[in-house]
């Protein structure tokens, strides 16, 4: 067999997917006996009781609903009925805003801390204590001080993206190879030029790795944050559909959250590859 590894892996992936779908389909087909009842009462009881249908939607139901969502992602029929496209756009916008703010704060500050061994040591205990705090624990404080639920969600994204980026920037800047710094010294390169031409490119792969960790965490946190603040966003959508008992929509939302998370990670992975240099 000379088929490439990629091809063989693709075959296995498809096979696993088909097997999972079949198992899901079979498991949710519904086997309980159909009860005889008054047609008016049956209407109230729904399909679970009257046709023996499983309460858990099968892959075909989910697929059909997904198709419906994808055909019309951006409809807006009032506060409780918006297309998933709109909901995802809200979430992505919040993540983007909070994340960009974190980039603007974490990288310059991380740079300064990394260049000064004194500040590295002095600020380390603060960072170590602030880092493990669940970002959602900031939520009440944010709501109380900012007094705006949407801004609070953005603040939570900001605070959770901040630490991995800052820690990686500090580490990347502090561990630039001595010999490269010596090159800059013997060439009498000034501090600013050294920061941009030696330290930044040398630390860029580490910084980008921190940014990649951050975007992953931000996307995890936004769903939970939106469940709390409500109104819009994919997290709110999940909770709303749970309240509507629409498991089909919940599953669809889970799927879409996964896809968007993967895309965000791919973008950062691509950027990381751009600044990575082979040694």
């Amino acid at each position: 067999m000379t088929s490439s590894l990629t091809l063989r892996a693709a075959v296995v992936s498809v096979a696993l997917f088909v097997a999972f779908m079949l198992a899901w389909h079979v498991a949710t087909r519904g086997t309980s006996a159909v009860q005889q009842m008054d047609p008016e009462y049956a209407k109230l009881m729904g399909l679970t009781a009257t046709q023996g249908k499983s309460a858990m939607p099968g892959p075909l139901d989910v697929g059909a609903k997904l198709w419906e969502h994808l055909r019309q992602p951006f409809y807006d029929k009032g506060p409780n009925d918006k297309g998933v496209g709109i909901q995802l756009a809200y979430s992505i916008a919040r993540v983007a805003l909070g994340y960009m703010l974190a980039v603007l704060v974490a990288i310059p500050i991380g740079f300064l801390i990394g260049m000064s061994p004194l500040m590295s040591k002095a600020l380390d205990p603060f960072i170590q204590i602030l880092k493990p705090i669940s970002p959602l624990a900031w939520m009440p404080l944010a709501l109380y001080t900012i007094k705006d639920s949407s801004m609070s969600a953005i603040f939570v994204i900001f605070i959770c993206s901040l630490w991995p980026m800052m820690i990686n920037t500090v580490f990347g800047v502090a561990s630039v190879r001595r010999e490269w710094l010596n090159v800059a010294k013997t060439l009498e390169v000034g501090t600013i030029r050294r920061a941009f031409t030696i330290i930044l490119p040398a630390a860029a792969p580490t910084i980008l790795t921190g940014m990649r960790i951050s975007i992953g965490i931000a996307w995890l946190v936004i769903v939970a944050a939106e469940m709390l603040v409500g109104g819009t966003g994919i997290g709110y959508f999940v909770w709303n559909e749970w309240n509507n008992l629409s498991i089909t929509n919940v599953i669809n939302a889970i799927l879409l959250i996964g896809v968007v998370g993967m895309v965000l990670d791919l973008i950062l992975a691509r950027l990381t590859r751009l600044v990575t240099f082979p040694e």
Binding site: E179, T186, E188, P201, F277, P278
Partner: protein
């Protein structure tokens, strides 16, 4: 008195020891260098060769003493003194052109890109790397990387080129070719060079003067060997010269036995300012009287200096 282009005047390096006191790596080192000199320094590990080079580069400060370049005490790194690092220290995210151009634009900050590239190209050609300008260091062999390092150092027209075992990481064949190149370039440009090496043959082939250091701690400059081989020596012939083996044996004898026993043998007799200059293999006198070095720094040794950086 001849004009001293570079003058090492009584430098020493001491490190604080755990539990008080100091460890002296080397002490009271005096050495003048003329323009165009090719000086090699040989000694066992731990005698402070690299520290001497780093002090000359300005990357390290002596605990006492000073280094004078062109009548000015050095106060830190400078574009006057280019360093060729053992590990070549190229910037891996820049191309060959980018690495050399970085040095050129550091020296001439106001130059336009075109002019910088032209000058960089000139030195890339000089070390025989044309065609590889747009390659990154990771795509180059060890020898080619070190060529880039040499081009980068030469491109800024340094007063002195400091080489820290530049060829030690290379295989024997590449090392030979690069030694030839360095010798050709230095003869053509009249470049002053100070080089650390562990390789006696390399020192004899390249250097005009070979400095022998005793073992550390408390290392001293034991003698200066003047290379008696003709200036126009070629690699194919150099080992057949009648004076080749006398020089080589003299240096190896020193490294094997005298570098250890020097401190006890010469107790009280060694004058660090008047280090014997030896031309091995010549008929008497084997030891010529060197001129006593006068300091160009009136206060002589600076008191223990804190690092200027």
């Amino acid at each position: 008195m001849t004009h001293k282009f570079i003058s090492i005047e009584g430098i020493a390096k001491r490190f604080p020891k755990a539990g008080g006191g100091f460890t002296t790596v080397f002490e009271d080192l005096w050495l003048p260098m003329q323009r165009g000199d090719f000086t090699c320094i040989i000694g066992h590990s731990g005698c402070g060769k690299t520290t001497v080079l780093n002090i000359l580069a300005g990357l390290d400060a002596p605990s006492s003493g000073a280094v004078i370049v062109d009548n000015q005490a050095i106060e830190g790194p400078s574009l006057d003194r280019a360093v060729i690092f053992q590990t070549h220290a190229l910037l891996p995210w820049r191309t060959v052109m980018g690495n050399v151009a970085y040095a050129v634009s550091s020296k001439w900050r106001k130059w336009k890109t075109q002019r910088v590239r032209e000058r960089a190209q000139k030195f890339i050609d000089l070390v025989g790397l044309n065609g590889a300008e747009s390659k990154r260091p990771a795509e180059l062999s060890g020898g080619m990387k070190q060529r880039v390092g040499i081009a980068r150092a030469l491109s800024i027209e340094p007063k002195i080129m400091l080489m820290d075992e530049p060829f030690s990481a290379l295989d024997a064949l590449t090392r030979g070719t690069l030694q030839d190149e360095v010798r050709r370039i230095c003869l053509e440009t009249g470049q002053t060079v100070f080089m650390i090496t562990h390789d006696v043959d390399e020192a004899i082939y390249l250097a005009d003067r070979i400095l022998l250091m005793t073992n550390g701690p408390h290392a001293v400059l034991a003698e200066v060997v003047e290379n008696p081989l003709p200036k126009d020596r070629v690699r194919a012939e150099v080992h057949k010269h009648p004076l080749y083996y006398p020089v080589r044996n003299h240096i190896i004898d020193f490294l094997v036995s005298r570098s250890k026993s020097f401190a006890t043998d010469m107790r009280g007799k060694h004058d660090p300012r008047n280090v014997p200059v030896v031309r091995p293999g010549l008929a008497e006198p084997a030891v010529r009287e060197a001129t006593v070095i006068t300091p160009s720094w009136p206060g002589l040794s600076r008191p223990s200096t804190s690092s200027p950086r």
